[in-house]
Every structure is written in structure tokens, then in C-alpha cells.
């Protein structure tokens, strides 16, 4: 439908008149002439009720199109020419209502990005892997042979695909270490964030799902001192310089020597409080030098290269930094929580 189809509504001519106008006064006059109470559009609209039912919608549409185009053209011209006088009718800018709102990234994603950025600045790349894994990647290649007591440290969820207990939901992000070492040649500096699973029911203190971030460095001449220094570097980058880190011996099949690393309590600055059970320290994760058996399973010569790995739960970071609890909060998806951070 063309606006010009109704002879009285000559849009082309009207628009030309608008472009020809030079002053605010002229524009105001044109607005009265075409769009005013007794203007052209109003007069044509008056005639609609006398038309045949077939013509009514055609003319009706023409009028609204004419009005819209002319309003747009006049508004644009007004904006260029400036108003005749300042319109002093007030607009309340504090009348905000709902309006458009930005959404929010999940706290875990925010934390993941923050940590990825810290490690990228330390020279690391980021890798990911599947959440459903084979027993080989999740356990065997990591020096957990079948029946190894350390397997009992992790309540594994198995996936039913023919062979029993061959396919599982990864219990840690460490299988990505194996995949990275299989596909890349050293030097490797890589962090591996991702989702991990345990056979737990979601309640206040347990979750079948949580997130980890794992780091792996493989190079010539890497030492335990490099591992300890790296942990200090990223913990102070994330929590601030005043946070201390501590390493205590522990055991993981895929690293040796192995250690647990802890932070000086961020709530009491190490003086002892309820959160750190009055120890002044909060355990964060595990780490160690890559075990030679792991290197052998991926075809890296442990005499030529050494390496270290570390890993910890991502949810722990916002729990420590903002006091979020319990862990269930992260997976309830209550919009009050999702939109707070």
C-alpha cells in the first residue's frame, strides 16, 4: 500500500515541503498543516466512515503510514533546526521503573574467567576435555591401577554403555592433563577448568556436580620450588598480596612428591576463626610433581622433562571470597542469587 494512493495524502509533496523548510517557525506551521487537529491527516481520517467497507482499511492504513512518516520527518527536522522555544515541561529522570537490565554471569563463570586470566598472564594456555571419560583417562593413565585404594577416595559415577565401569563421569579435571600431554609436546603450560562429578545427592554440603581448575606445567628443569612459587603467584593474584600459602605433604597417585596447599585464612588473616577451625589456614587443593608413571603413560621421557600439576575446586573461591554457602546455592539457580553478583 502506497501512501500516495489516497490523492489528498501526497506524502512525497509533504516530505519535500519539510525538507524545504528552513526555520523552526516554518516546521511548526507544517506540523499544524499536516498533522494538526484540523490538518490534512485528520481531515482524511474524518472521511473514512463514509467510505465503503472495502476501502476503509486501505485508507486507514494510508493515513497511519502518512502520519508516521511525517512525524518522523518533522521530528528529525526539528532536531536539526532547534525548537522555537524551550519546552519547559519537566521529565522526571528518577522515574525509573524496571527498564532494560543487563544479565549476570554465574559466579563460578566469573571466578573461572578471573583465574584463567591470572594464568594466561603467567604464560598458560587453557584446555578442556569431555565430562564423560574412560577409566583410562580418569584413573589408569594417572597411575590409579584397578583396585587401587586411592580410587575409593572418589565416589565415582559410572555410565552404562556395555562394558561395566569402563566409562564414567570424570571425578576430577586431571584426565584433561593426560589428553593435553598426549596431543602436545613440551613445553606445556596449561590450565584446565571444567565440571566434575561425584556420586552424591545434592544437599546443603554435597553436590553431585562441582567445578575444578587444574594446572599442568611440563618443561625441562621444573622443580618443586617452581610449583610452590606458582601457587603463591596465583593465590596472591586472586586473593591479594597479604594472603600466604602453605604446602603440606599429601598423597595423590599421579604426583610425587604430592602436597595439599592451603591459604592463610581470608576471614581472620590467619589469626584463627570459625571458618578455618582456628587453624589460621584454609585448605584449597592438591598439587605435586608429575609422577614418572604418568609421563610414561603418555610417552614423555621423565628423565628429559619434569613437571608439576595442581588443582582445586572453583566453587571454593567465591565461597571464600564472598562467603557464599552452602554449595547447593550454586546449583539452585535462585534468580536472587544469580542476579546479585
Amino acid at each position: 500500500m502506497d501512501a500516495d494512493a489516497v490523492p489528498d495524502l501526497n506524502l512525497t509533496a509533504a516530505l519535500e515541503a519539510v525538507s524545504a523548510a528552513r526555520s523552526p517557525e516554518q516546521l511548526a506551521e507544517l506540523r499544524r498543516e499536516y498533522l494538526g487537529k484540523r490538518g490534512v491527516a485528520a481531515r482524511v481520517k474524518e472521511t473514512i466512515k463514509s467510505l465503503s467497507p472495502k476501502d476503509r482499511p486501505i485508507v486507514g492504513q494510508a493515513v497511519s503510514l502518512f502520519t508516521a512518516k511525517m512525524t518522523e520527518a518533522l521530528d528529525a527536522a526539528d532536531a536539526v533546526a532547534g525548537p522555537e522555544t524551550i519546552d519547559e515541561s519537566p521529565i522526571d529522570l528518577t522515574l525509573r521503573g524496571h527498564g532494560r537490565k543487563r544479565g549476570h554471569m554465574h559466579l563460578v563463570t566469573q571466578c573461572r574467567r578471573d583465574l584463567e586470566d591470572v594464568f594466561v598472564s603467567l604464560g598458560y594456555q587453557v584446555a578442556e576435555g569431555p565430562e564423560v571419560e574412560s577409566d583410562w583417562y580418569n584413573f589408569e593413565a594417572l597411575n590409579f591401577p584397578p583396585g587401587h585404594p586411592a580410587r575409593a577416595m572418589q565416589d565415582t559415577l559410572y555410565v552404562n554403555l556395555g562394558e561395566p565401569e569402563q566409562v564414567l563421569l570424570r571425578t576430577h579435571t586431571s584426565p584433561v592433563q593426560v589428553r593435553v600431554m598426549e596431543s602436545q609436546t613440551p613445553p606445556i603450560y596449561c590450565v584446565m577448568p571444567g565440571r566434575t562429578y561425584r556420586n552424591e545427592t545434592l544437599d546443603a554440603r554435597h553436590s553431585p556436580v562441582f567445578h575444578q581448575i587444574e594446572g599442568l606445567a611440563v618443561d625441562r628443569g621444573l622443580t618443586f620450588g617452581d610449583l610452590a612459587g606458582t601457587i603463591e603467584a596465583f593465590t596472591s593474584a586472586y586473593f591479594g598480596q597479604k594472603v600466604q600459602s602453605r604446602l603440606l605433604p599429601s598423597y595423590f597417585p599421579f604426583t610425587e612428591p604430592s602436597a595439599e596447599f592451603a591459604l592463610s585464612c581470608v576471614f581472620c588473616d590467619g589469626s584463627g576463626c570459625r571458618v578455618c577451625s582456628n587453624t589460621g589456614w584454609i585448605e584449597l587443593g592438591g598439587c605435586g610433581m608429575v609422577d614418572p608413571n604418568v609421563f610414561r603413560s603418555v610417552g614423555i621421557d621423565p628423565e628429559e622433562f619434569s613437571g608439576f600439576a595442581f588443582g582445586f575446586g572453583l566453587e571454593r573461591m567465591p565461597m571464600l571470597r564472598y562467603g557464599v554457602e552452602p554449595i547447593k546455592t550454586f546449583f539452585d539457580n535462585d534468580v536472587r542469587f544469580l542476579t546479585r553478583y
Binding site: D2, G103, P130, V132, Y158, P187, A217, A228, S250
Partner: protein
């Protein structure tokens, strides 16, 4: 492992304060979970003697006991049946405080005044026994503080021992570590026992049929007098968290705690054939264990049987009920054996049966400590059970386990730890751990470390390096940073674009959800997918939610339902995460893909500035458009198409480069209502990698024309089967280079007739002002093309 400090000090005379010892344990990798001082809350409880026990005049089950507490006598009401005149008891007078902060008061019980109470072991915080009053035995002056008698001033370290350290599951093992750390001498004497009568092997036989699972089995015949064990032993067991059963059973447990070696005593009179056969179980063979539970076995399980071949114990895990030591037992067969860790671990896991014994055997006890443990038990049985031990224990051990000899290079130790230790320092650091050092002339930079067999974790050079690291203190190693020069850090293009996708969604007002990927089959069926074509967890704890999600939509619906239950119905959520489809071909792993999904529900609130309105499909299609713009996709289109879970006529396939990557539209009626989420409900779900694999617009520069535009509006009557997007594509293809842009600007649907859609076209040439006739020509070509291709009617 709970280790009382007094017991540790029996072997390592450490002067340090408990807090310093705890810190040392942590530094050694024997993590302290708690430091307990069980007697801290017990105030004013004294040793007393029951002088006279009379029946309570008004209650059948109570008695009146007159006690002498050294400074005087008084009367208490007591409900325990075992109290007799002459018994030495723990008396809590009125005013005394018991664990839990409970303070006693003088009060009347059934009309008789009770000036306090007599205590059971549990009331003093010593284990679970509350059957009767605790008997303290003779030897302490009346009126003495019971904490002195019962060792309640003791400190107990509750340690979490890692699976590689069987040695640290014993007081001696812990003492050895601490002695090395504090540089004190470890005092462990070789146990000895006297013997009487005929040799054990005169009438006892031991036969091992499964030598791989049981490389060593030693047996002693011992005549015993069953009774209660002495208070000092009960007290240590209680502090270590074990119940006192009888003197014989207590001795086996005491030795296990002291030396880390589990033992088992069989009642010899109830062991048919007076002998032992160790063999693998038969399929479906059963045995009733001490806890009264019948266990069904497999040929992976190891049984300790009597000489007739009937199972009498699940080896290394739990004894059977038949030959259990009882009050009537007069003669026992004492088992000391070495079972290999793997088998114990498997059986214990499969039966869900964990015991103090299995926790040690599955870590690997010392195969060469078998006889010493047996001898130590014999020694103690003589002391506490008037035992007569037969000489000549039977010891079946055909292939003794040798100590590992490990070549260690000094340079390698320093290279791994980042230190500069001398060979001498390293060697000296290892000897207090029981590691012997041998010189090997063929090693110009090292030595041979000979590992003790109580440390089965020491097999390789790296294991010795870890020991050196522990001796230095891992936290003492100077901290350095790697020199990462060859590889620069950074995110890949794909990783940066995935961040961009999230940023776009956040910018469009959506908040990120994280839902649990394990969902219920019904939730899969509800969105029109086949729950039988899914990947499932075989052992999920919540059996109703075993499906690994094939779509993100059910999780988002559940999230919306959670919020709806809290009266929050307006929401815009998205999730980026993996979905799991059945393996493709003969792949081992599922077809795991990254998806992006959005769910928007409720009302778009704009009042009072604009009007509120219900959400509609355009709230999700504009997200698709925003992603297309942000990613600079060359060809992203929507094409009306039904999809599972979506409304049949209000949804579209999302096409990237002509291939469907997912769907967008209204959620099918009933899907939201099923979980309590009201309509309107709109969603999109696309394969994230397919989206990011899309061809991108060329970023070639096009000179910006300085010439004016010509605008043309065209309106067409279209059938419902013809989409505006298709007409728009036709207009673009027809108008070619002269077209700067084209948008639909109006849809008009007269009642009972086909809709009319109007498009605004803007033409501009790069090199000239378009003439009226040029514009008229291209306008007519556009009209003709739309009429021809889509059967549309042009509206004049």
C-alpha cells in the same frame, strides 16, 4: 587414626607441646583433623569404693550405694546392675562436671537422696559402653581425680592417613615419624614371650591354597582365661576410638593400634579340625560375619577356613560369628597374616564392609612384621589373660618379601626438589625413617636406599625423593617461578568467542544458570525426546535422575520451576554446557556436545516508561540476531520448522550456512505447566560449536558512498506459509548491489484475509546519484520477483 600422645611418648620421648606436635604431624603429611583432650570437661570426679549396696525401697531396678571417696562417705542412687560392694568406681559427687558441661546436683530419686552418681565409660567420654558402671580396678587411692587414673589428661591426635601410608596407621609408625622430626631416639624393643606345653604344630595345621592373596600366615595356639582387660588397656582403646570387648579381643586390637598389624583370634574349640585353610571363596558361598550379617561371596574373595574347609573369616576384613571368641573360650588360635592389598580392597568395596583391619590390609601391612605382631600379642595375653602360649608358632611364608633396593642420584633429588643438598645430608635424613643406605661403587653420584617393608610405598627413586622433601619440609623449599619463554599464554579464538557469546547473552538481559546435568527420564520425555535414546549413569544415588541430559531445556525448566515456587515468574536464564548423546558408531564415549540455551518467561516489565507486555518469541529471536551480529556470521537465518518440545507453529530452526544448528520459539503448551511454570515461555537451544563454526562476513572495506539514498516502500499480501524472512531474502537477492538495506516495517492482518507485510528498501549507488528511472526499474524487478517466487500479491 586416633593416636593418644601418652602412647606415642612410650616409643618417642618427645618433650614438645601438643600444639607443636600437631604442627609437626601436619608438616610430615600426617594430617591432623582434630586435637582432642577428652578429660578437659571432667571436673571433680573421684575414685571411690562401693562399701554397701542395698535395694532402693521404692524402685525394683535401682539400688542405693554407699561410697567411700577418701574424705568421707555418702549415698547415691544407681541404676546399673553390675555394681557390687567392694568395686572401685568413678564417683561424680554433686558439684562435679561431666563431658558436655553437665553439672551434678544433689537430688531425690524416688524418695531417696542421691549425692551424685557413679559413672559408666560413656559418661566419662570413653567410648560407647554404658551397660554398666566402669570398674577402675585396685591400685589408686580413694579420692584421686579419675583423670589421673584414666589418663584423661591425655591428648589425642585424630589423623587422616593417606592411602599410601600403612605404617602411619599405627602408634609406632607415627612415633617413628615424630622421632625423626624432633631428632629423638625411637625406642622399640623386639617383643618376646614365654611358652609352655606342646608345640603349636603338634595338633594344628595351616594350609594356604591361595598364596598370591595370602603370602604369609602364622598361627599360635594359646590357652586363655577370658575376662575384662585392665583399665589401662581399656582406656587406651577408648582413647583410640575402640570399644573394649574382652581381654583377648582387646589384645588383638591393642597390637593392631600399636604396630599397625591386624590380628584375629579364633575360638579353637569351635574351629573344626583344629586347623586353617586359606582359600578363595566359591561363587555365591556365604558366611555370617561377627556383626550377624550373612555375606554372599565371589571367587575374588579370600576366606580363612577351618581344617574342614568351612569359611570362618573373610580374610583381613571381618571374622565369622561361628568361631568368635566368647566368655566360655579357653583356647584360641591366634592368626597373624599378610593378605595382599588389592584383594582386600576389592572385597571390602564390593561388600561395603570396612573395618579397622581392612583399612590397614588394603594399604599394605608389613609382611615381615607378622611374627613380631603375633609375639607381641602373646606377650600381652600372658599379662592380661593368664595365657599359656604354645611354643613354635606355625609360620607359612614360602617366599619372603625382600626389601626394595633403590638407586638414588643426588643430582636428581636436587633437580626435582629445586634444592642443593649434599649426598651426606640426604643419606642422614633417610636413616631415621628406617631406610638403610648402601654404597654402590657403580653409582658415581648416588647410593642405594634400602626401603623397610613397612613402607610399601617406597619402590622408586621418586618415592625416596619425596621422603627427602618431607624431611626438608615441603614448605621450606625456596619458591621460584618457571621460565616460560617458548610458549606465550593466551586464549584461543574459539575460547575468546565463547566468552563473547556469554557476554552477548548477559548484555541481552539473560542471567547464567548452572543446572545439574543428571535429570529424570520423565523430564526428557516431557520435551518430546526419547528417554530410551539417552546416556545413563548406572549407579546414581538418586535412581530417579540417572539420565545425562540430552538437552539443556529440562534443566532450565526446573530452574524456572524452582523460582516460580518462590513467586519469581519473570526470568531470563541461559546456560552454556555439555549435553550427552549416545555414542556414534562404535565410539567408547558418548557424543558430548557444547550447547547454548535460553529460557525466558513471564512479563517484560517496562512500566511506567513503556508498557509491560508478556514475553514473546521476539525476545529470543533478537538474541539470535545479537549473536549473529556479534559473531559477524555471514548467513544465519530462521526457517519455520517444528521441533521437539517447541510449539508446532511458533518455532523455527536456526540455520547457519543453511544447516540447522538448533531451534527457537515458544515452548510447547503443557511442557512448562507440567513443572509449575506458566506460559508464556520462550526458548532457544543451539549447538555452540556449530554456531561458532559458521562462516563469517568478509571484513573487506567498502568505500562509503557520498551520494544520496532513494527509499521505496513495498507491501505484499502473503500467505501464512510464506515467511517475511524468505521475502526479504528474495528482495536482497534481486536488488543486488544497489540495495543498502531492507526491513519489514509493518504487518497488517485484515480480519479473515491474508496478511500484508510492508518492506522499506533503501537504495544507494557507490558512484552516482540514482535516477528516478533506475530506481523505478529496480523497484519493479523486486515486485516481480516476490510475486513470482512467493506467489504474493503486490499491494498498490
Amino acid at each position: 587414626m586416633r593416636a593418644p600422645l601418652s602412647w606415642i611418648r612410650e616409643f618417642a620421648p618427645i618433650e614438645a607441646e601438643p600444639s607443636a606436635i600437631a604442627e609437626a604431624l601436619d608438616r610430615l603429611g600426617l594430617e591432623v583433623e582434630a586435637i582432642e583432650t577428652p578429660g578437659r570437661e571432667i571436673v571433680g570426679v573421684r575414685v571411690a569404693r562401693a562399701l554397701e549396696v542395698r535395694k532402693h525401697p521404692n524402685a525394683d531396678k535401682l539400688s542405693l550405694v554407699e561410697v567411700d571417696y577418701g574424705d568421707g562417705t555418702t549415698t547415691v542412687v544407681c541404676g546399673a546392675p553390675n555394681v557390687v560392694a567392694g568395686m572401685v568406681v568413678a564417683f561424680a559427687p554433686s558439684g562435679a562436671t561431666l563431658p558436655g558441661g553437665y553439672t551434678l546436683e544433689k537430688r531425690k530419686i524416688r524418695g531417696e537422696t542421691s549425692d551424685g552418681m557413679l559413672c559408666s565409660a560413656r559418661e566419662l567420654g570413653l567410648g560407647d559402653d554404658h551397660e554398666g558402671i566402669m570398674s577402675l580396678g585396685e591400685g589408686s587411692a580413694l579420692g584421686t581425680d579419675v583423670r589421673d587414673v584414666l589418663g584423661l589428661h591425655d591428648v589425642v591426635f585424630d589423623l587422616s592417613i593417606t592411602p599410601n601410608r600403612p605404617d602411619a596407621m599405627s602408634v609406632i609408625g607415627i612415633a617413628r615419624e615424630l622421632a625423626a622430626h624432633f631428632d629423638v631416639v625411637l625406642n622399640i624393643s623386639e617383643p618376646e614371650n614365654t611358652t609352655v606345653g606342646s608345640r603349636t604344630d603338634d595338633d594344628i595345621s595351616v594350609e594356604i591354597e591361595a598364596i598370591d592373596a595370602c603370602p604369609r600366615f602364622a598361627a599360635r595356639r594359646i590357652a586363655v582365661t577370658i575376662g575384662a582387660s585392665p583399665v589401662w588397656m581399656q582406656q587406651r582403646l577408648a582413647l583410640a576410638g575402640m570399644r573394649s570387648i574382652s581381654n583377648v579381643v582387646d589384645v588383638t586390637n591393642y597390637v593392631m593400634l600399636e604396630r599397625g598389624h591386624p590380628l584375629h583370634a579364633f575360638d579353637l574349640s569351635r574351629l573344626p579340625g583344629r586347623g586353617i585353610i586359606v582359600r578363595l571363596a566359591r561363587e555365591k558361598e556365604t558366611i555370617t560375619t561377627l556383626d550377624g550379617v550373612q555375606r554372599i561371596l565371589t571367587p575374588d574373595d579370600l576366606l580363612v577356613c577351618d581344617a574342614q574347609g568351612d569359611g570362618q573369616a573373610i580374610a583381613g576384613i571381618m571374622g565369622g560369628s561361628q568361631a568368635e571368641v566368647q566368655a566360655t573360650t579357653t583356647e584360641v588360635l591366634l592368626e597373624a597374616a599378610y593378605f595382599t592389598p588389592m584383594g582386600i580392597s576389592k572385597t571390602s568395596k564390593r561388600l561395603g564392609l570396612r573395618s579397622e583391619a581392612s583399612a590397614r590390609f588394603e594399604r599394605g601391612v608389613d609382611p615381615n612384621g607378622v611374627l613380631a605382631a603375633s609375639t607381641r600379642a602373646a606377650q600381652l595375653l600372658i599379662e592380661v589373660a593368664a595365657a599359656q602360649v604354645a611354643p613354635g608358632p606355625i609360620d607359612v611364608y614360602p617366599e619372603p618379601v625382600q626389601r626394595e633396593r633403590i638407586a638414588v642420584r643426588t643430582a636428581r633429588v636436587n633437580a626435582i626438589l629445586g634444592l642443593d643438598l649434599s649426598a651426606e645430608w640426604i643419606k642422614e635424613s633417610l636413616t631415621p625413617l628406617g631406610i638403610a643406605i648402601e654404597v654402590d661403587a657403580t653409582l658415581d653420584d648416588g647410593f642405594i636406599a634400602v626401603a623397610p617393608t613397612y613402607r610399601p610405598d617406597l619402590e622408586r627413586e621418586i618415592d625416596i625423593i619425596e621422603e627427602v622433601g618431607r624431611r626438608v619440609g615441603l614448605d621450606e623449599i625456596p619458591r621460584t617461578l618457571p621460565h616460560t619463554t617458548e610458549q606465550g599464554g593466551g586464549l584461543t579464538v574459539r575460547q575468546r568467542e565463547r566468552r563473547l557469546v556469554t557476554d552477548v547473552l548477559v548484555g541481552m538481559g539473560c542471567s547464567e544458570a548452572m543446572t545439574i546435568p543428571l535429570i529424570a527420564p520423565d523430564d526428557v520425555a516431557a520435551i518430546g525426546l526419547d528417554p530410551d535414546r539417552t546416556v545413563r549413569a548406572s549407579n546414581a544415588l538418586r535412581s530417579e535422575e540417572p539420565v545425562l541430559r540430552p538437552s539443556l531445556i529440562p534443566g532450565l525448566l526446573r530452574a524456572a520451576a524452582y523460582n516460580a515456587g518462590l513467586s519469581r515468574v519473570d526470568l531470563a536464564l541461559f546456560e552454556v554446557g555439555h549435553v550427552f548423546l549416545p555414542p556414534v558408531g562404535d565410539a567408547l564415549l558418548p557424543d558430548e556436545r557444547d550447547r547454548l540455551a535460553v529460557l525466558i518467561a513471564g512479563t517484560v516489565r517496562r512500566a511506567p516508561v513503556e508498557l509491560d507486555r508478556p514475553v514473546d518469541v521476539h525476545d529470543v529471536t533478537e538474541i539470535i540476531d545479537a549473536l549473529s551480529v556479534a559473531l559477524e556470521l555471514a548467513d544465519l537465518r530462521l526457517e519455520a520448522a517444528p521441533a521437539p518440545g517447541f510449539h508446532p507453529t511458533r518455532s523455527a530452526a536456526v540455520l547457519v550456512d543453511g544447516e540447522s544448528i538448533g531451534h527457537v520459539g515458544e515452548i510447547a503448551p503443557g511442557v512448562g505447566e507440567r513443572v509449575g511454570v506458566a506460559r508464556p515461555l520462550v526458548a532457544l537451544e543451539v549447538d555452540l560449536d556449530a554456531l561458532l563454526d559458521g562462516i563469517r562476513r568478509q571484513r573487506t572495506f567498502v568505500p562509503l558512498s557520498r551520494f544520496p539514498t532513494s527509499s521505496v516502500d513495498l507491501a505484499f499480501v502473503l500467505g501464512d506459509a510464506v515467511s517475511a524472512g524468505a521475502v526479504q531474502a528474495t528482495l536482497m537477492a534481486t536488488a543486488g548491489e544497489l540495495l543498502e538495506h531492507v526491513y519489514p516495517f509493518d504487518e497488517f492482518r485484515p480480519e479473515g484475509r491474508s496478511r500484508s507485510v510492508a518492506f522499506a528498501l533503501c537504495f544507494r549507488a557507490a558512484d552516482r546519484t540514482l535516477t528516478d528511472s533506475e530506481v523505478a526499474e529496480v523497484r519493479q524487478e523486486c515486485i516481480d520477483a516476490v510475486v513470482r517466487v512467493h506467489g504474493a500479491e503486490f499491494r498498490t
